[in-house]
Every structure is written in structure tokens, then in C-alpha cells.
């Protein structure tokens, strides 16, 4: 386990573009804190975003996890290229000849995926905790530890997304094409949803099927947090709109995403196993 981690770590550490991307990623995660600095002070209108309750416990867990998840594409590029480059440099062949098994090779990549997801989650946790302690109106422990399942959802979302990238990198063997395919897949899911809701007699049915699609399932894990803000709610009520979206983490979504994780793992392994190098 430690050996596999170190193998992958050394490969990444020496790669300058990976280092830059990873650095940029964590910088951006930290930049969530900058939201606190958003302040308008135009005569009678005084607006300080940090005081709108977005940094209140436990809401902050949801808000920061949701925002943080946008930056995952940076690590996705790193993961796709660390897989695809093994093929273009043919180093995967050399790794196997040197005595790494195909399973160990896959595991070293997966350990990195889980490591990235774990570090990101830890990072979001620490950033949120600090911001919350500074700006939150409620600082009681019992309130702080509420809703931590958003962080779990964030973690699972990242693992699944990176696992998908790992699979694409392995299957397509070219970083740029794999990332392009990721975009195409996103569109494909959208088109499928369109077709489903058009063709199926019941809208709920389409919704149920669409829920199973991998990227959509990942995005369902963390519902948008904005409708929970009282400011947004008030605004919606004023225009006569009822907002009763469920913004909780759904167990079913976690389950669907975990199934996708296993599917990606198995498919990647099967590809590695069957392919001649």
C-alpha cells in the first residue's frame, strides 16, 4: 500500500505540469475564503456576503462542498494525464516488466485518486471550519458537527469523478481525447435526459432513469445550496415562487455513485488485463 502510493507519488512529483495544476487547485480551494471579502457599500445599500449567513454552521459545509466541487476539473486533468502518459511513454510496459502486476498498477492509481479526494475533503473541512469560526453566528459544537454528510458526499463525488477520469485515460490513452470525451459524455447525458422526458409518458419516470447516469448521479450528490439561503428564499417568495427542493444528501444517490465507482474500477481492470502492450 505504502509502496504503491510512493511509486505514484514519485511519478507525479517529478512532473512539473502536474505540480502546477495541483498547486493551482489547492490555491483555488483556499480562494473560497475570498468570498468573505465580497462587500458592497453603496450609500444606503450595505451588503457583505459573509454576513448573509453563507458561512453559518452547518450551512457552510454544504455551501463550501458545493463550490469546492467545481474545481475538481484541475485534478481530473492531472489524473487523466498521469494515466494516458503511461501509455504514450510506454512506461506502463516498463513498470510491468520491472515486476509491478497489472492490479498493483491500477491500485497505485486508485490510491492516488482516493488520496486526492481525501486531501480535498480535508482541505474543505479546514477552510470551512476556519471561515465558520470567524463568521458563523452559531459556534456551538452541536451545531458545528451537524450536516457533515455533505463532506462525505463531496468525498464520494470526487472519488467517482476521478475514477471515471482514470477509466477514460486508460481506455482512450490520450489525455486530450479523454478529456474531450468527458465533455461529450456530459452532453450525451443531457441529450438522453431530453429524449427521455420527451418520449416517456411520465416525467417522473424520465427523472428516475436520469438519476442513474454517472455524471448526473455525481451532481445529485450535492444539491445546489442557494435555495437554502433565507435571502434567496425571501426573494423567491416575493415573486411568488415556492421553493421546496430537497437539498439533503440522498442515500440512494450515494449508492448509485458507489456502484458507478465499482463499475469504473472493474472496467479499468478488465481493460488493463486484456490489453496487450
Amino acid at each position: 500500500m505504502k509502496r504503491l502510493f510512493l511509486i505514484e507519488y514519485e511519478k507525479l512529483r517529478a512532473n512539473r505540469s502536474s505540480r502546477i495544476l495541483i498547486g493551482a487547485y489547492f490555491l483555488l480551494l483556499t480562494s473560497i475564503a475570498l468570498i468573505a471579502a465580497i462587500k458592497f457599500d453603496i450609500g444606503p445599500i450595505k451588503f457583505h456576503l459573509a454576513e448573509q449567513g453563507i458561512f453559518n454552521f452547518p450551512y457552510i459545509w454544504h455551501f463550501n462542498a458545493f463550490i469546492g466541487a467545481f474545481f475538481k476539473i484541475f485534478l481530473a486533468v492531472v489524473i487523466v494525464s498521469m494515466t494516458a502518459n503511461e501509455y504514450s511513454n510506454k512506461t506502463i510496459k516498463q513498470n510491468l516488466i520491472d515486476g509491478l502486476s497489472k492490479r498493483e498498477f491500477l491500485h497505485s492509481k486508485w490510491i492516488m485518486v482516493i488520496f486526492f479526494a481525501g486531501i480535498s475533503t480535508l482541505f474543505i473541512f479546514v477552510v470551512s471550519l476556519i471561515l465558520g469560526l470567524i463568521y458563523s453566528n452559531y459556534n456551538e459544537i452541536s451545531i458545528i458537527v451537524q450536516d457533515l454528510e455533505y463532506l462525505l458526499a463531496y468525498f464520494i463525488k470526487l472519488v467517482a469523478f476521478f475514477a471515471f477520469c482514470l477509466f477514460l485515460g486508460t481506455a482512450i490513452k490520450r489525455s486530450a481525447f479523454a478529456l474531450g470525451f468527458l465533455g461529450i459524455w456530459q452532453m450525451f447525458e443531457g441529450i438522453c435526459y431530453g429524449l427521455l422526458s420527451w418520449k416517456s409518458p411520465q416525467w417522473l419516470e424520465a427523472e428516475a432513469i436520469y438519476r442513474l447516469f454517472p455524471l448526473n448521479a455525481m451532481s445529485n450528490l450535492l444539491a445546489e445550496p442557494f435555495s437554502r439561503l433565507s435571502a434567496v428564499r425571501n426573494l423567491a417568495e416575493q415573486v411568488g415562487e415556492q421553493m421546496n427542493n430537497n437539498t439533503q444528501v440522498q442515500f440512494l444517490d450515494i449508492l448509485i455513485v458507489l456502484v458507478w465507482c465499482s463499475i469504473f474500477y472493474l472496467l479499468t481492470y478488465r481493460l488493463l488485463k486484456r490489453r496487450d502492450l
Binding site: I97, D98, D276
Partner: protein
């Protein structure tokens, strides 16, 4: 003698093409083996299979008597396949460190092996800045990191300039002299002839010879002759029951004996018939000629 590798009926099919057809051979410790065959005869595919990168269609192989699974066994093997494959953005030293981690050997060996292949002064340079000859030498250093029980080399001098070829060859000789078992695939026959004790000859994926080089090259040799009266010489040789075949090659007459005849014997026999020889030499077929006869025979 202990067996390093046993291969049984190993076969690889790519669609309808059979790249390797039912190979069976075994490799014993301490010998130097050559795999001979023209391009596309299945040498690299065979090595790919025993090195865990190509899945065999049927048949099997086992390393070190099958006591470990393949990837564990490969930690005791050193191998270079075709082109040297390293991380271009890493230095030689970083690349070798990674290999040490994979093979689970201590890093102390790195310096020693880099000195052996004459790259110690370039170890902090990135792999992508290396010339092909240097890349190939780094690959050899990497293959030697674990002091392997067997070294597998696939066309190690391919694409190198004469100086590079000489350097790589020198290293191979050095390693062979230390008693390391070597399996060398090449289509360059003199390369194999110079270092190998045993050969496996492949043609279109089929094994046409496996055994010691000496058994392949030691026949009764042949004589190169010339005489003042060449017609008389040829008539005399044709009449000799111990001569299988004669032919004319340039100004010389070539005679293939059926049995072992010494130079003295043939000289005496011819002189006694009044033939004055101007040239007489006993020659052995080179591996190249043997190889060509062997592959020709199999084509027919």
C-alpha cells in the same frame, strides 16, 4: 543446474495471424541464450508473453519452477524490450529510484550501475535530453539494478550508431562474463554468435531449432581448394566417395565432406593423384550460413 524459465506450448494469435506457435523450451542458469529469427518471426511477442505484457492465447510458462507468480518472479529478472521506456521528465537517477521501488531493491545500487554503463556524470539530466545510445545504456543499468538472475535483452543494439553498438556489446560481454544468465533476441547473427551458448531459432512464429550453438555450427565443415589443374581437381573430388558435394565459388572449389576429414588427409589423397594444390583451407559455416540453410530447409 537450476531451471530459470520453462515454456510449454506457448501460443499467441492476433486475430487470424499466429504470431507465436506452440513454443516449448527451457532456460537453465548460467547459459547465454539467443533467440534468432528475421523481423516479424515472433521474438518480441515471445518475450512480451514471458514478461507479463502480452497475454498468451494458449500454453503456459513458469519462472523459477513456478514458486512465485509472474510479477513477483519478474522482480528477479532484468529486461529491456525494444525501445527504452522511461519517464521523459525525470532524471536518470529519479527513473532508477522508481525502478528500485517497483523491484523492491535498495537504492544504493543506482550509482554502481550508472558507473557500469558510463552514465554517472549525466545522472541529474532529464531522460528526454539523452541520445538513443544513452537511453539504451540507462535501460541496461535499470535492468541490472536488482542484480538479476537472468537478463533479457530484445534487440539491444537496434537503431544505435556503430559506437553505440560497440558500447552496448561491451557491456553485454562484461555481464555474460560475470556468469549472469542472458536471453538475447536479435536478428543480427554475429551478435548472437559472439555471446550465446544456446539458440532458439524462430520462423514465422514456429520453433525450428533449440539447442546449443555448437550443435548447430559443428558439422564437418567444408574445404576451400584450388590447384594448378582445376578440372583434374574437380574430377578427382567428384570421384571421391567421402565428398558429398562440390561447387565452384569464384576461383575456388568448395567441397563438402560426408565425414570428418582432416586437412592432412585430403592433401595427401590429392597429392597422391598428382594434383598440385595452390590453396587448401578447412572452414566452418558461420551461424549466419547455418541459419539461412535452416530457414530455407523449413520453407521447402
Amino acid at each position: 543446474m537450476s531451471t530459470i524459465l520453462t515454456v510449454t506450448d506457448l501460443t499467441k494469435k492476433f486475430g487470424s495471424l499466429t504470431a507465436v506457435n506452440k513454443l516449448s523450451f527451457s532456460i537453465e542458469k548460467g547459459n547465454v541464450y539467443g533467440i534468432l529469427g528475421p523481423n516479424g518471426s515472433g521474438k518480441s511477442t515471445t518475450l512480451g508473453m514471458i514478461l507479463n505484457v502480452v497475454n498468451p492465447s494458449t500454453g503456459s510458462f513458469s519462472w523459477f519452477g513456478g514458486e512465485h507468480n509472474t510479477h513477483q518472479a519478474l522482480k528477479r529478472v532484468g529486461a529491456i524490450i525494444e525501445r527504452p521506456n522511461f519517464y521523459p521528465y525525470m532524471t536518470a537517477e529519479q527513473n532508477l529510484r522508481l525502478v528500485c521501488r517497483i523491484k523492491e531493491v535498495p537504492r544504493e545500487k543506482i550509482e554502481e550501475k550508472l558507473v557500469l554503463v558510463d552514465l554517472a556524470d549525466r545522472k541529474y539530466d532529464k531522460f528526454k535530453t539523452y541520445s538513443l545510445g544513452m537511453k539504451q545504456r540507462l535501460a541496461i543499468a535499470s535492468a541490472l539494478l536488482n542484480d538479476p538472475e537472468i537478463l533479457i535483452l530484445d534487440e539491444p543494439t537496434n537503431g544505435l550508431d556503430p559506437q553505440g553498438i560497440a558500447q552496448v556489446r561491451k557491456i553485454i560481454f562484461k555481464i555474460a562474463a560475470q556468469g549472469t544468465t542472458i536471453l538475447l533476441a536479435s536478428h543480427l547473427l554475429d551478435e548472437v554468435e559472439k555471446v550465446c551458448s544456446h539458440v532458439l531459432v524462430l520462423q514465422k512464429g514456429t520453433q525450428i531449432y533449440f539447442g546449443p550453438v555448437t550443435a548447430l555450427t559443428t558439422d564437418h565443415g567444408y574445404f576451400e581448394l584450388n590447384a594448378t589443374d582445376q578440372t583434374a581437381l574437380m574430377d578427382e573430388l567428384k570421384g571421391n566417395k567421402e565428398i558429398k558435394e562440390i561447387e565452384q565459388r569464384g576461383a575456388l572449389v568448395i567441397a563438402y565432406p560426408k565425414v570428418a576429414i582432416s586437412v592432412a588427409e585430403i592433401s595427401k589423397a590429392l597429392t597422391s593423384k598428382g594434383i598440385v594444390l595452390t590453396h587448401l583451407a578447412k572452414k566452418h559455416k558461420s551461424l549466419e550460413e547455418q541459419f539461412l540453410t535452416l530457414t530455407k530447409k523449413n520453407k521447402a
